[in-house]
Symmetry: C2
Subunit: 305 residues, 2 copies
Amino acid sequence: MSLKLTILGCHSASPRVNAHPTSQFLEIKNHNFLIDCGEGTQVQLRRYSIKFSKIKHIFISHLHGDHIFGLVGLISTFRLLNRESELHIYAPKGLKEIITLQLKLSNSWTNYPLLFHELTSKKSELIFEDEKVEVYTIPLNHRIYTNGFLFKEKIGERKLKMENIHKYDEIKICDYQNLKNGRDFMLEDGTVLENKNLTTDPSKPKSYAFCSDTSYFPEIVPIIKNTTCLYHETTFLNDREKLALKTKHSTALQAANIAKQANIKQLIIGHYSGRYKNINDFETEAKQVFKNTLLGEAGKVFEIK
Amino acid sequence: MSLKLTILGCHSASPRVNAHPTSQFLEIKNHNFLIDCGEGTQVQLRRYSIKFSKIKHIFISHLHGDHIFGLVGLISTFRLLNRESELHIYAPKGLKEIITLQLKLSNSWTNYPLLFHELTSKKSELIFEDEKVEVYTIPLNHRIYTNGFLFKEKIGERKLKMENIHKYDEIKICDYQNLKNGRDFMLEDGTVLENKNLTTDPSKPKSYAFCSDTSYFPEIVPIIKNTTCLYHETTFLNDREKLALKTKHSTALQAANIAKQANIKQLIIGHYSGRYKNINDFETEAKQVFKNTLLGEAGKVFEIK
């Protein structure tokens, strides 16, 4: 299955009629991850027909409003929808306090388990892992404590070459898992069939890095090196490089430079400042440095195969 | 000037694509008041071209999310717009803590003075007054501490009858204010001109009562008696009277009954549950008891003359 990213919002600062703050829905190896949750995210989820029940893990980059103000509403809606399953939230320390205070004062505790994983480390760390996927933080450089997130598929099982397997009656269905795990097969007469003749290599694992908000910060390059797809913020164009530096945001040129240095396959940009009327200019600028740049826009779905 | 009410949202619970939670913008005697602030209110203000700088006073009924989750975003946007003037928020105790915690943790204090007026009284009290308008709380009966708000124009000045005034050269422009204030005028020869011959009565003061959320609660009738316009919540139709009782909401019939008992001129209804597909049914039901019922809908502007 491909990696699929739905942009729910990718404008900076205040929500406007056609400019939604940051939120993304990532589907990777049958996992569904929500990344950031600006005001209006739950309406965007409905607009793009994403089932609320799919969301079990939410990753929050930092505590600026345009990345979190939609979260308490989403958590409350889960309660109204009679959610029962656990909801895990990975976020900077402090968010738990913000959410629980509001649930307490509105006398609206969730009926489902709401589990906060508070982030405080300034080094990249593994924060989620199961048999299919790993998620690491990407420490970013912003005005407050901020992490990006690196979602990595684990290497999958080897694929059976059925046309070869069928040549041997002795290989039964119950042996398949061993073959997928890379083991050779010994026939009754002692002949060893090498695994490489019975299987092919697994699909190459894909990966996705989300980096917002951050100044131009080449320290992230070793962490995101060779990532399949990178979303990098481009709040400004190069005409406001100084403002980017001051507010700890990036220009489109800088985002493209990071993508180039990290040998990314596909760059997606977003987090545009409301100062710019034509967001196509971000794409044009980034492509000067990195051709494989796509313009993030609310409602766009990117499938990385 | 007439009293003008813009409905920004009037659905209950979670925001959906075409269902916005509670918020209203009231213009009364050159004052601009925002009432409640569900998620997405700032986008609704933009959609209906209401200038953010007009808002100086915000009244919050209670701390359920569908009435407050848009407030912290609006407060933050005021900061981004370089607001300088004071913002007054009248709300149940607890909201100040919710807002300040979020501003603290996002390191985004407002540059403008943000003043909270915390409400705790269970009796109706005067919470705002100047020379033109008074605002009283209307204690409601909901699952948590909740107030409605009664906005009352003060009686204005008497109006000059210029055709009569012009008959007397002795009456100068500098005397007009005394006449507007109701004083008689004495001519030099000692003749007293009665005020009633030089002026007419001032316009009858208008008033607006906002009552949401609440169960059927006739205790409010003496407070809102003879109010020009009442907004009363109608979360349910009569088919769910028991659910209304349990959740401390009202049916359309009950809202209409309150309007009738209080001798209201104009009833506006809203806070519809998402269970109902056709909100016109609320109007039909309420009109069985109270003919002058109007259906609240986002974007509708009601002018009460």
